[in-house]
Every structure is written in structure tokens, then in C-alpha cells.
């Protein structure tokens, strides 16, 4: 399964398909432009003719001005990962650029960019090869032109610091561009054969650079979606109906709102896509007035049918589903699971529950919409133009090409800004009210409209043979599916052809342990699905699925009286389907084994600990088997036996993500994601009650703060292999490592997230 391909399979302009495109180099307006040609362009013309054509918008391009400034255009958003810096580093490396010459531009929406999604921990993995090749093509072209100017053979030349150098002679890129003529096309075959630098010659990849987006984020100058203003705009706050779907406005009484200074009126929104139903927009001259007026206005509704749904109902439904034979879709079916159970000397099973978890990104959802000269302009930070733009167009009842989405810094994405449905009420209000509309969700509005990580239930079962070996492993997982709601066309078929499934809510169950018989069923929870919009939350499926998988492996080890680390190491033999393949998963499970051994050493596994302290370990392979980020995590915890409070003394993590492009940003992502893991394990979580999330603001949704930050020891494996994703994978193994450590400390097995002191107190009493 390749999640990225699933996501973009219907799109001809997928950037993975860059390998089928020509690469064009030409001088335009005196700058040197280097770009992959769009597939839709006629390619009989020369590079310079194509680049000058109207509407030329390639998926990747960079340009060098006569001043020597190198601008790399990036179709990815900045939401904290410093992705522009990393992607520009890849270009700079092959081009031989001086880093001081590099600028980054973040592109706005244009369908010709192809399928654009900043998520899935995909960016570097996806762009590494095409950007390297693009840089290399630029280097070759500059060397050819530079060699002519220097009167030397191209073979004698190299590039360094934005110069072409031959012996003692050199000429700057800027000089070459001023004097040279460029009109060159590389065929896809030529691109694929371009010499890419060997790792020992690198000067930019693998070295730290100050992230380009950091300075404006320290002085208040960075512009986020919420900061954008337009002439003549009005402020809007939504009034969100009592149920996520199926509500209808029966009447609006704004007599109290009329008493508020600055109140301008309201609109009952008409969404042609029915994504939002029963919404009212309150319009005012200032946002403060909009907040007050929305509080004062009285809307009566006919509610949808989920007004009474509770967390317990959703979990009961999930529990029923994971215990229903043949429910859902078959995802893994190795060996013969039924036979393994039938011939087992003993069996073991456990059920794990994770509760609703929310985004609570710091910048509340917002969008600014304006209709101008026949085009809808949407201003908002978002992770995916490709998901957001068509959703807005559909709601407005217009074609995709009459909507442009303008990109800004994101005050946190974490998956909430992938499907930018928050732009829909802004656009509809602007349409109905006839003015540019700045719509801002208050924090409680944002929480109410969150696309939460669905509560989940998973049942894992083991078949043990008479030699005390784990020979069968069955995993049934159930939750609300984000992709079913927001991108249903991107759901692949299960292997038994009984239906389609959400790969993002399934990945993580296809582990790299070699076990003879293995079956996974993935099951949608329809009650969760209709009560709220299940969302992609940083680390997505693996973030909760691995809690079950890696806790259960521990349970089996203890049942078999084996060391949980040794048992894992033995199953990570890298044989059969766990061999991996070139380039991204080369050496397969053996790399997971290596990080596990490293982490075991770092954490001093087996050390004698004081009473009520424990060490637990877990592994993760990141977001997907086809892009494995190899991680082992150990948690050292102390448990207060009376209060049940869990204190994290230290987290150890070893990561092999292949080539690290930008080490300091990579470290920052791991630091943040370990803390996310701790936060989701112990501090975060809410429940559904009366069809809504209970959490409304930071007083009742409580992500980890600095006073709960544990010590961390982070080790990256030095690797020259293909780079994989890093934005999310650090989250995954933390919760099971903590649960396993709690068991080590107390003998109490916690099978529910978040882990709460009362869970420990309850089990202490029972013991």
C-alpha cells in the first residue's frame, strides 16, 4: 500500500510523475528559469517558447536572477516544519549554490501545480529526487555556459558558492546569466541519468542552515491567514448548529443582536455541497461585535439525528464491530490465521480503546473570501489547495477554475488544515452578503467544528504454539474514517474485494515483524462517521493503531515469559515481505532492529530501577510501510501507587529516516513529536457527549505545557539512504512505550488512551 499514490491516483499531475516530464531551462526577462514542464503543455516547442507561453505553471521551478538571487518556488506550506528551507537545500546542493543567495516562495493554488498536499510526512520524501535532478540539470547548464566564458572544457569545471570554477579561473552564476543564452530541454531519460552528488561531497544537505521562516516568527512580521485584511471587508463569526450534519435553521431572532454596536446582519448559509447544514453567519463591523452579536442572536433548529450520541455509544459500536467476524475490509492476510487459531496451544487477546483527540492548533480556523472580477479569492493558510479549492467551488456552485486560494503561514496544521472546509462558510457569507468577508472562528467555534481523531477500538489476538512461540497475530481495528468523509475517491479496495477502506486509518497495522500467520481487518465505525467529521490528526492511523499493536506485543512477551525487547528483535529478521525494497525501505526490518538495539542500549534496558519505576519500549515504522521511518522509543516512568499519577522521567528515541536533509529541523520535529506523543498519551483527549465534543477551549482541553516536559535523549542514525518522512512519526511509539513502562513499574496494564490516574487506581483496587 502506498498512501501517497492512493491519495493522488486520480491526478495526472502528481509530482511523483515528474519522472515522466521534460525539464526546461531558458532565459526569461533576463532571469534563468529552470522548470519541469507540465504534462499538459505542448512540448514540440523549444524550452524558451514554452516557458514564455501564457499560463505556464510547472510543478517545480526555480530561477536565478542576474543579481545571482536564486528563488526556489515551493508548492508546500509552512506549518512549523521549515519545509521551504529543506527543499531549497536539496536544490542548492546539486546546483552548487551559495546558501546566502537562496530565497523561497510559497506558491498559491493553481491546478497545474498538480496534487498539492502538505501532510503525510511526505514533502522531503516526495521532492528529494525531482529537486535533486532539477538542481543537477541547472548545474550542467551553468557549467556548459560558464566553461565557454572561461574558455575551458566543461569537464574541467565544477560548481561552488554560486560560481563555475575551473582551476584558478571562475565565473559567478550571475555573470553567466548576464552573458549566456539559454534554451535547453532535458528529456525524462536524460533527467533520470543525471549524476547526483555522492553523499561525501555534499555541502548543503545534512548541514544546518538557519530556517528561512524563523526570523519573521520572532518579530511579529510573519503573516498568517488570520492577519490578512482587504479593503471593504466585514467581520463574521459563525453560529454553528447543534449537530455536525443534518441540522436545519427554522428561524432566527436577532432582536438582541441589533442592540450591539457594529452589528450588520446575518445570513443563513446555503451550501450547494451540503457540507455544512444549518449554519448562520453573523456579520459586523468589528470582530468583537461579531462575537457579541453571535452570542446574542437566537437561532432555532431542527437538529440532525445525532443529538444524543455519546463517546460510550461510539465505543460500544466499535467494540461490537471488532468482535464481528468478517466485519469491515480485509487488509492483511498472511498464512492461515484460522488454522493458526485452531491448532494453537493457547490464545491471548486484548482490546484497546483510544478516546477522541482534537487538533487545537493555535491559530483558530479562519478565512477571508472576496469575489473580484469573476474570480473567488480565498485567503487562508491551508495544507492542501487540492482538497480545499474544489470543496469551496462545490459549495459556491462554481467551477474549480473560478477559485484561487492564497497561501499564508499556518498557525499550526496537524491535519486540521488539509481539507480546508473552514473556507466554505466564509465564501458563502461573502456570496450572500455581497462583500469581502473575514470569518474567524472563536476557539469554542473552532473546537466545535474540529475534525477530531475518532475514538477507536481495536482487538488484537495471538495464537501461541506448543513451543511457546507467537505464530498467529490478528488485529481488528475500528474508528471513524477521515478519508471517507473528505476524500472518498482516494480509498483503495481491500484484498478480499469486499469494499474500500481508509488507508490512513489502517496504516500502522501492517507491521514489520515476521509472524507466520497474520490477519488485519479494518472497520469503519458508522456512528462516529455520522456524528462528527473524523479527522487526520498528526500521526493519523499509526498514532492510535500502534498503541494497540505495540502494547499487545508486550503483553504477549510477558505471557510467554520472554523479554519484550528480545522477542521483538527476534521477529525483526528482515525476511520475506519484511525484506524491504530499494530505495526507500532498503534493508527492511533490519533497520528497525538496528534502531531498537540502539535505543535499548541508550535506555540501559534491563537496569535495576527503584520501586514504582519502570522502563517500556516500543517501535514504529512511521506513517506507512512504503515510506518507513524506523523508530524505537523507550520511556522511563515513575508511578505514584496511591494517586495513580504517571511521571515521565525520560524518553529515549532512536530514528533512522535515511538521509537527513536539515538536521536541526529534523531534531525540532522529533522533539515536538515526542512531546505530542506524551501529550496524547497522558494530557489530551475529550469525549463526545450529546453529539458534540465536550472540550471547547484550553480550560478543558489541556495539551502538555512546559512544566510537564520530560527529559529527552534523541539519536539519529547516520544514513545515506533515501530520505523519508519526519513530521509525524516521532509521535507514534511514545504512548505504547509509556503503557509498557507503566506495566513494568506496577504490573498494571493500561489499555486506554489517554492514560489517566484513575485507571491505575481502579486496577490497583481490583488487584
Amino acid at each position: 500500500m502506498n498512501l501517497l499514490n492512493n491519495f493522488s491516483k486520480n491526478k495526472t499531475e502528481d509530482s511523483l510523475q515528474l519522472s515522466r516530464r521534460k525539464f526546461l531551462i531558458s532565459a526569461v526577462n533576463s532571469a534563468l528559469v529552470m522548470a519541469f514542464a507540465p504534462l499538459t503543455m505542448s512540448l514540440t516547442a523549444s524550452a524558451s517558447e514554452i516557458i514564455k507561453q501564457n499560463g505556464f505553471s510547472p510543478s517545480i521551478w526555480f530561477e536565478i536572477s542576474t543579481l545571482g538571487e536564486i528563488t526556489v518556488h515551493v508548492a508546500r506550506c509552512e506549518m512549523g516544519q521549515h519545509v521551504g528551507t529543506a527543499l531549497a537545500q536539496i536544490v542548492a546542493e546539486e546546483l552548487g549554490a551559495n546558501w546566502d543567495d537562496i530565497r523561497v516562495e510559497h506558491a498559491s493554488s493553481d491546478p497545474k501545480w498538480g496534487f498539492v498536499m502538505t501532510g503525510g510526512s511526505w514533502s522531503v520524501f516526495q521532492m528529494y529526487k525531482p529537486l535533486s535532478q532539477a538542481g543537477a540539470a541547472g548545474r550542467i547548464t551553468l557549467i556548459e555556459a560558464g566553461a565557454k566564458l572561461l574558455g575551458v572544457a566543461p569537464k574541467s569545471c565544477d560548481v561552488k558558492d554560486s560560481k563555475v570554477i575551473s582551476g584558478s579561473k571562475s565565473v559567478t552564476f550571475a555573470e553567466i546569466i548576464k552573458q549566456g543564452k539559454f534554451d535547453r530541454t532535458f528529456t525524462p531519460e536524460e533527467m533520470n541519468k543525471l549524476p547526483i552528488k555522492s553523499p561525501d561531497k555534499r555541502h548543503t544537505i545534512g548541514f544546518d542552515r538557519l530556517a528561512l521562516d524563523v526570523p519573521p516568527k520572532t518579530n511579529g512580521k510573519a503573516v498568517y491567514g488570520i492577519d490578512v485584511e482587504l479593503e471593504g471587508m466585514v467581520y463574521t463569526r459563525p453560529v454553528i448548529p447543534p449537530t455536525r450534519y443534518g441540522s436545519k435553521v427554522l428561524g432566527v431572532d436577532d432582536s438582541n443582536a441589533k442592540k450591539i454596536k457594529g452589528y450588520l446582519g446575518y445570513e443563513i448559509l446555503k451550501d450547494q455541497s451540503n457540507w455544512i447544514e444549518g449554519w448562520v453567519s453573523v456579520i459586523a463591523e468589528s470582530y468583537h461585535s461579531a462575537i457579541k452579536a453571535a452570542d446574542a442572536i437566537k437561532v432555532s433548529y431542527k437538529s440532525g439525528d445525532t443529538t444524543n450520541v455519546s463517546e460510550q455509544d461510539i465505543i460500544d459500536e466499535g467494540r461490537k464491530l471488532v468482535n464481528t467476524k468478517s466485519a469491515g475490509v480485509l487488509f492483511v492476510n498472511d498464512g492461515d490465521m484460522d488454522k493458526a487459531f485452531d491448532s494453537a496451544a493457547s490464545t491471548l487477546d486484548a482490546t484497546y480503546i483510544t478516546h477522541t483527540a482534537m487538533h487545537f492548533q493555535m491559530e483558530p480556523l479562519n478565512a477571508l473570501a472576496e469575489f473580484k472580477d469573476g474570480v473567488w479569492h480565498i485567503h487562508c493558510g491551508n495544507q492542501s489547495h487540492s482538497l480545499t479549492l474544489p470543496a469551496v467551488a462545490k459549495a459556491l456552485g462554481v467551477s474549480d477554475d473560478s477559485v484561487i486560494v492564497h497561501q499564508y503561514y499556518l498557525g499550526g496544521g496537524f491535519g486540521r488544515r488539509a481539507y480546508g472546509d473552514y473556507a466554505i462558510p466564509a465564501a458563502l457569507t461573502a456570496k450572500q452578503y455581497g462583500k469581502p468577508v473575514k470569518l474567524i472562528f472563536t476557539r469554542p467555534d473552532d473546537a466545535k467544528f474540529d475534525q477530531a481523531r475518532s475514538a477507536s477500538v481495536q482487538k488484537v489476538s495471538a495464537a501461541i504454539n506448543d513451543k511457546n512461540e507467537l505464530v498467529g497475530y490478528e488485529h481488528n481495528i475500528s474508528a471513524g474514517w477521515p478519508t471517507l468523509s473528505m476524500a472518498p475517491g482516494f480509498m483503495p479496495k481491500g484484498i478480499d474485494n469486499t469494499g474500500n477502506f481508509d488507508p490512513f486509518s489502517t496504516s500502522g497495522s501492517d507491521h514489520w515483524y515476521t509472524i507466520a500467520n497474520n490477519r488485519v481487518r479494518t472497520i469503519n465505525n458508522p456512528l462516529a462517521q455520522k456524528t462528527f467529521t473524523p479527522g487526520w490528526l498528526r500521526s493519523v492511523g499509526p498514532g492510535w493503531i500502534s498503541f494497540g499493536a505495540e502494547s499487545f506485543i508486550d503483553e504477549v512477551a510477558h505471557e510467554l515469559k520472554k523479554d519484550p525487547v528480545e522477542m521483538r528483535l527476534a521477529m525483526l529478521d528482515g525476511k520475506g515481505k519484511n525484506r524491504g525494497h530499494h530505495p526507500q525501505s532498503v534493508h527492511g526490518a533490519k533497520r528497525l532492529k538496528f534502531v531498537l538495539e540502539n535505543c535499548k542500549k541508550a535506555a540501559n534496558w534491563g537496569q535495576k530501577l527503584p520501586k514504582n519505576e519502570g522502563l517500556g519500549i516500543a517501535t514504529s515504522f512511521g506513517q506507512e510501510r512504503e515510506m518507513p521511518t524506523w523508530i524505537a522509543c523507550a520511556a522511563h516512568v515513575a508511578v505514584n501507587p496511591t494517586s495513580g499519577e504517571i511521571t515521565i522521567k525520560k524518553i529515549f528515541m532512536t530514528i533512522d529516516c535515511g538521509t537527513v536533509v536539515h538536521p536541526d529541523s529534523a531534531l525540532a520535529q522529533i522533539e515536538g513529536s515526542i512531546l505530542w506523543g506524551v501529550s496524547l498519551a497522558l494530557h489530551e483527549g475529550t469525549e463526545v457527549s450529546n453529539g458534540n465534543y465536550i472540550a471547547t477551549n484550553f480550560h478543558n482541553y489541556t495539551p502538555l505545557r512546559m512544566n510537564n516536559m520530560p527529559e529527552m535523549e534523541i539519536n539519529f542514525v547516520e544514513s545515506k539512504e533515501f530520505p523519508v518522512g519526519l513530521g509525524e512519526p516521532g509521535v507514534i511509539a511514545v504512548a505504547p512505550a509509556i503503557a509498557n513502562a507503566v506495566f513494568h513499574a506496577t504490573g498494571i496494564r493500561l489499555r486506554e488512551l489517554p492514560m489517566k490516574p484513575e485507571h491505575i487506581r481502579q486496577q490497583s483496587k481490583q488487584a
Binding site: H82, V214, P215, T218, Y224, D227, G411, G412, H699, N707
Partner: protein, 163 residues
């Protein structure tokens, strides 16, 4: 009409008295560096200084600013030792909370030139960073403290410029 000093300049506004200082700073005076996070003084994204003390501008009615000195991140003009440390330590990820973090940290250094880890945690736990860049926030505060000679060596435009 309410009059107050904003980053060293006297400003006047006639918004309703109960309007939070946050929206006046952002939407009346166009200083967008101060952010809206929660509206209930729980996250710290909107932190500014009122007469030198860190306050949550989302929950402070403009009437309380009458005659007082308000400093925002823009008032530091990129010259505060914390801002330099924030770049050196590469603190921000999404960056949305960082104006508030810096304003909050500045009041710690004003009172305490060499805070311990525990003192930093206690002071900074009032502010949420959703990217959880906490290790670097802590490091940057320590590094700024080490580089500044005294506890009161804090760039304060509101008191250095006539209002």
C-alpha cells in the same frame, strides 16, 4: 475616547469600552504580531505588556489601558536579546504563539537575570506552544539570560520613548 501609549506613541480609540485590547491592537492599529488563541486568557498567544507586566490582551477590556503603556512584539523592533536568542536556538516552528512566548519570557528576565530551569518552567507554563517547541524556548531564555548582564537589561520602548 480611550488614550494610551502603544509602543512609545500616544494613541486614541473610540471602540466600545468592553472591546478586548487584543482587537484594538490588531484591527485598529494594525499590529498583527499579537495573536488570538483562546479568548479566555488560557493560552498566552495574545500576551503584551501593560505598564511592564505581562497581560492577556484577549481578556483585557480596552478601558483598562486608559493612560497606560502597552508594548507589543513590534515594540521590541527585533532588538530584544530574547529575539536574537529565539533565532539562534531556532525556536519557532509554526511560530503563531511565539510573540506571546517572547513577551511572557521578557517579564521573567526583567525580574530574574539568571532563572533556573524550574523558574523558567513555572513562568512559561502559562503559555501553550502547540508545536511543543518547549525545549528550545527554555534554552533560548537561558541563553538570553546568560548574555544579558543584568536582570533589568530589557529593551522597553514604551519607557524609553516619550508617550
Amino acid at each position: 475616547m480611550i488614550e494610551f501609549n502603544l509602543n512609545g506613541k500616544t494613541v486614541r480609540t473610540d471602540v466600545p469600552d468592553d472591546t478586548p485590547l487584543l482587537w484594538v491592537i490588531r484591527d485598529e492599529f494594525g499590529l498583527k504580531g499579537t495573536k488570538f488563541g483562546c479568548g479566555i486568557a488560557m493560552c498566552g498567544a495574545c500576551t503584551v505588556h501593560l505598564d511592564g507586566a505581562a497581560v492577556r490582551s484577549c481578556s483585557m477590556p480596552i478601558s483598562m489601558a486608559q493612560g497606560k503603556k502597552v508594548s507589543t512584539i513590534e515594540g521590541f523592533e527585533g532588538k530584544h536579546p530574547l529575539q536574537e536568542a529565539w533565532i539562534e536556538e531556532q525556536v519557532p516552528q509554526c511560530g503563531y504563539c511565539q510573540s506571546g512566548q517572547i513577551m511572557q519570557a521578557a517579564t521573567l528576565l526583567e525580574q530574574n537575570g539568571s532563572p533556573t530551569d524550574e523558574e523558567i518552567s513555572a513562568h512559561m507554563s502559562a503559555n501553550i506552544c502547540r508545536c511543543m517547541a518547549y525545549p528550545r524556548i527554555k534554552k533560548a531564555i537561558k541563553s538570553a539570560a546568560e548574555k544579558s548582564n543584568s536582570a533589568v537589561n530589557v529593551y522597553d520602548l514604551a519607557s524609553s520613548v516619550e508617550g
